[in-house]
């Protein structure tokens, strides 16, 4: 009998211990890994979204955590190196992260995202504008928080035709990166859909590092009829240089451009610039019409003492927001379950705007843009505009073009 009691007590104690350990398991923190560049040129683009992502993580923790668990994060510095991105991603996956956040660029984010995909973990890029960061490229567990570059070109084309009443355009494409070409492909398709083949008066290319685009400017000036608008698919510094040279040559035509040209830091290159339009993400200059953006910027400023260094910052915030929402809904951090929830998003309202995914498309194709223009040496919000022309798969992957 005594022996029986002892056994009972022991079993009870054992049960209590295992229950306690199970509870501890439940309360174990959720882990998010960041395989991002903290040094090298890409660090300038990864820094602001990363800060914003950390802000969102801290907000969730302050509100009691996710599924009742705290979120912890770890960073692997990829040093703007594709090989290090792959090893950094693999290390974080080995460390057992539930979500891998990767760099703001397809070429540098994909190696890390692939490591996650192979291990069955979800990976989200902060702001890669390439749909290959998704089902057809990296795999069904990869996402990007931002819009396809094509939709930037589409949005500004539609806006210029429908709201600004511009009829003809001339396209100047910087061939240094694929992002520019994708944006120009979107512009081309949407402009022709709205105004016909002949409404694009001409097309020319340059390279970002070209010290001069004089020959391209001469071609524009020799057109029999001057265009209503010039579409410039480029990034800084070459894009800023091109704008300066266009204006210096006395071409005062409205210039349409893409999201990478947003934010005021390059405007010194063209003092007094006017009639320059872009599809922006958010305005950092106090005039964004969407209250949720204002809330985000105020929280960011309270946390870091300054506004995000670039408007891409919001993408890091919205990335964590989306994933946390899906985890909450799925009731687990299991990657497949979370992805299944994310694939059902249809205009789900988040800070960066309504967000939709399908099991085929893990990038935004018609999230509303904040059209912005330059006036008095600063970007200003004009209005929120949503493109109605939606890029098909052929345009998104630029096949047969």
């Amino acid at each position: 009998m005594k022996k029986f009691y002892l056994t009972m007590v022991c079993s009870a104690a054992f049960a209590a211990v295992s229950a306690a350990s199970a509870q501890a398991q439940d309360a174990a923190p959720i882990k998010i890994g960041f395989a991002i560049a903290q040094s090298g040129w890409l660090s300038n683009y990864d820094a602001a979204p990363f800060q914003a992502a950390v802000l969102k993580i801290e907000e969730i923790n302050k509100a009691g955590g996710l599924l009742g668990r705290k979120i912890e994060y770890q960073i692997a510095d990829t040093k703007t190196d594709q090989a290090l991105a792959a090893t950094g991603g693999a290390q974080l996956v080995d460390a057992g992260v539930d979500l891998l956040v990767v760099s703001c660029d397809y070429d540098f984010g994909a190696p890390a995202a692939l490591a996650a995909q192979q291990a069955g973990k979800i990976a989200i890029s902060m702001c890669a504008g390439d749909p290959k960061m998704g089902v057809q490229g990296v795999g069904p567990l990869a996402f990007t928080a931002t819009s396809a570059a094509q939709s930037e070109g589409i949005a500004i084309a539609e806006y210029a035709q429908k709201k600004m009443g511009l009829k003809t355009a001339y396209v100047l494409e910087d061939v240094i990166i694929e992002y520019n070409k994708s944006a120009c492909a979107g512009f081309d398709a949407a402009w022709k859909a709205g105004g016909g083949e002949a409404s694009i008066l001409g097309k020319d290319t340059f390279r970002n590092e070209d010290p001069s685009i004089a020959a391209q400017i001469t071609r524009i000036k020799s057109l029999p009829t001057p265009p209503d608008a010039i579409m410039l698919c480029s990034v800084t510094p070459g894009g800023a240089s091109a704008v300066r040279q266009l204006r210096a040559a006395g071409i005062d035509t409205p210039i349409l451009s893409i999201t990478a040209m947003s934010d005021n830091y390059w405007l010194n290159a063209v003092p007094g610039l006017k009639d320059f339009y872009i599809p922006g993400l958010i305005s950092l200059y106090g005039d964004d019409p969407r209250p949720e953006v204002g809330t985000f910027l105020a929280a960011f400023k309270a946390r870091y003492g300054d506004l995000p260094a670039s408007s891409y910052g919001v993408m890091g915030y919205t990335l964590i927001e989306q994933w946390a929402y899906a985890v909450e809904k799925a009731g687990t951090t299991d990657s497949q379950a979370v992805v299944d929830v994310m694939n059902t998003f249809k205009d789900q309202p988040f800070t960066a705007g309504p967000t939709s995914y399908t099991d085929q498309l893990h990038i935004q194709v018609n999230r509303p843009w904040l059209i912005m223009k330059v006036e008095n040496d600063s970007f200003h919000a004009v209005e929120v505009y949503r493109n109605s022309f939606v890029p098909d798969m052929k345009l998104l992957f630029r096949v047969g073009q």
């Binding site: 040129w41 300038n44 290319t205 010290p211 004089a214 020959a215 020799s222 830091y265 390059w266 290159a269």
Partner: protein
């Protein structure tokens, strides 16, 4: 017709810019058999000296805030000092090594300087609005020429003349030409090697400083790789012009600039992205027919 004139001006301006860089490379190569790739970073650092060294992407102006004459002097002075410093630290101790070692050393200097800029200024491109009035187009014979194109051509022509006068008329210039012809012989005849080489570097720094200002006035932007493309082009220019020949370098710079503009102007749209391939194909063609370059110096001939 106006179009053709405009194309000629475009080509001339770009050719002048490349000629300036090519002169700097050719000069140093002449006296030292060193192809100085750090020339790109001299220009980059000259441009960055316009702004206060901070990681901020909208930095306040430093030399850029000075009155024009002082600004030009300070930027060029900075680059000359930098060129002399790199010569003293990285190249002088290696002077007797073979050209390959020197070339590697120049790559090392180039990477070092580039990373230094990233460290101090961060890698993000910045912008400066200096010389805005110079970029305004000037109306000449019915065509509008951007002021900066006229400036580039004017500066290049002036510097070329000054450099030729310096090399032909001054004792130091004559010593430098002698050193370029046959360095050992010149030394035996009493030409001070250190001084001649230092002066060559100072002139290359002067040219790099000038190029940096012209680039900033033209583009309004600062970037860690801003000097790279002109130097790559200028390097090819010195090769096709004839290594070690200064008129060759200037001519070569002109040719690559002009060809690049002509290809951009007259190639069909689909081929234009491959413009650079056309320029480099031309380099290969010229070298096939004239392996020593267009203007051959006696120094470049095989010596027994």
């Amino acid at each position: 017709m106006t179009n053709v004139v405009q194309v000629i001006v475009d080509a001339g301006a770009l050719g002048s810019l490349y000629a300036l860089v090519a002169l700097a490379i050719g000069l140093v190569f002449g006296v030292m058999r060193l192809i100085n790739f750090a020339q790109a970073d001299y220009a980059t650092i000259g441009a960055y000296s316009l702004v206060v060294p901070t990681a901020s992407i909208t930095p306040p102006l430093m030399f850029g805030a000075l009155p024009t004459a002082l600004m030009v002097g300070c930027v060029i002075g900075t680059v000359i000092l930098l060129a002399l410093l790199t010569e003293r630290v990285a190249f002088r101790p290696l002077r007797n090594s073979n050209p390959a070692t020197l070339l590697i050393s120049s790559f090392a200097v180039s990477y070092f300087l580039q990373n230094l800029v990233v460290l101090v200024h961060s890698g993000r491109p910045k912008s400066v609005g200096i010389g805005g009035s110079l970029t305004n187009a000037v109306e000449l014979w019915g065509i509008r020429i951007p002021g900066v194109q006229l400036l580039t051509m004017g500066v290049a022509a002036t510097l070329l003349v000054v450099l030729v006068l310096f090399l032909k008329k001054t004792p130091l210039g004559i010593q430098m030409r002698a050193a370029a012809e046959n360095f050992q012989m010149a030394r035996l005849l009493g030409v001070p090697a250190n001084r001649v080489i230092a002066v060559a570097f100072a002139i290359s720094g002067f040219l790099a400083g000038t190029v940096s200002l012209l680039l900033v006035i033209q583009t309004g932007t600062l970037d860690i790789k801003m000097g790279l493309m002109p130097v790559v082009y200028a390097f090819f220019a010195t090769v096709i012009g004839g290594m070690g020949s200064l008129p060759g370098a200037a001519l070569g710079g002109f040719i690559v600039g002009v060809v690049s503009v002509l290809l951009q102007t007259y190639l069909p749209t689909d081929l234009r992205p491959f413009r650079d391939a056309g320029v480099f194909a031309l380099v290969i063609l010229i070298l096939l027919f004239r392996p020593q370059g267009l203007i051959v110096t006696s120094a470049a001939r095989e010596r027994v």
